[in-house]
Symmetry: none
Subunit: 133 residues, 4 copies
Amino acid sequence: MIIRIDLESDTPIYNQLTNQIMEGIATGELKPGQALPSVRALASDLGINLHTVNKAYSILKDSGFVQIHRQKGAVVQAGGMPPADLAFEERLERELRPMAAEAVGRGMTEERWLALCRQAFEQLHARREGGTI
Amino acid sequence: MIIRIDLESDTPIYNQLTNQIMEGIATGELKPGQALPSVRALASDLGINLHTVNKAYSILKDSGFVQIHRQKGAVVQAGGMPPADLAFEERLERELRPMAAEAVGRGMTEERWLALCRQAFEQLHARREGGTI
Amino acid sequence: MIIRIDLESDTPIYNQLTNQIMEGIATGELKPGQALPSVRALASDLGINLHTVNKAYSILKDSGFVQIHRQKGAVVQAGGMPPADLAFEERLERELRPMAAEAVGRGMTEERWLALCRQAFEQLHARREGGTI
Amino acid sequence: MIIRIDLESDTPIYNQLTNQIMEGIATGELKPGQALPSVRALASDLGINLHTVNKAYSILKDSGFVQIHRQKGAVVQAGGMPPADLAFEERLERELRPMAAEAVGRGMTEERWLALCRQAFEQLHARREGGTI
DNA sequence: GTGGTCTAGACCACT
DNA sequence: GTGGTCTAGACCACT
């Protein structure tokens, strides 16, 4: 899986990393049980700091997407992904609200808004169909 | 219009403020041409610093939602809100992507995802219909 | 002569007013010896504050473009306009420098830059030819 | 590069700073990719507040002349300066107009006006040719 | 060590 | 009375 870090982005590097790994898991590019690169290897690959990779892995562990074994390192959660529970839905709502508000304020139609939301979701599924080893 | 600031949140105060004013504009609670409180008044109301309010107002000005008259203070943009142009759609896509990825990763169905997206949009329109006293 | 004030502009109103009167003098729309409207009349016409008009007139007086008679009010300088002396050229240079710098930084060609400078100058002369009473 | 701040000037300090850095970029004294001093270092060098430097850097960032890397600090935009697009030309026209008006009002010839405009442009290019040690 | 955010407090220009 | 600018000083996130 190819990860691209934009050092000039406003998004902190550890967030970019977390997001992209989560996308990899969502598309199935990263399979349950699959090992992630070691913190050291990934940091050197991407030319970023050890701590930054570590922080991303910790967040993924805390939200239940990966497990961290003392020896094997980080592994994509094998038995059951974390559920889309109420707490997650509430967070989603909280994050969607300001985006929807700006869309409404700019006069975007509900159809266009939903089309963009659908597109964001289906792009991940599409990649899931394709399948990369 | 009631504004609530969560000092514990890790969303910066000026962002919380910007978002809520944008919601007010989206729902129509804040009418085009309507005056916003002066930076000093709002800051003291919310118990925050005047510079923090100032930053929120500046962002709203730069994105075209309010006008700042040097002596009269800030008023909601009267003639034509900023359009939902390509740049905005691209930003929206960029922001929706990681949220969709986490939803997919957590096994949320596309139906549920779209329901939440629709809900976020329609809640604003609903409030718009309702009208404020 | 028609004066338009943009209350939403970043340029202070007294500057807008000063500039437009100076343009009127430059194009000849305002003739030497011609009386300007009274402070009171102009302020009420434009819907702005007395003090604001007063400040504009004072600046024009200080730079030698108008004379202020206690009874007749403000009159366009009759006997000889203020010269484009060294002090003025130095001020011009100081103001042109940052604009030229940004133009160069943005890759504008010298031809284009000079075309815009020429245009700004000739538009005033063109209006001078036409002549409005 | 030597930066001089005039605390007496009525041009805000952050504008003086922005202008001088832009001149540095225009002349090539500041090379693409080159690091600017940290806000703290420059502020202490110039004897001004760090927030003032911050504001100048933010303006340069927003207009595309520098990039701000959260931890590395500010660097001159490397890949492609912001273009001299229509919006910039319109701004230039708006700023040139009152200067041209005053020049005409003071009886400056078009030749002299253009000579000063050319000089402002070429002085930057000249410095560019020269090269800095 | 870097910029980002926030506070507190001041003076000024504009109206 | 309004926003604009500036200072001084603090804590935090990121690396």
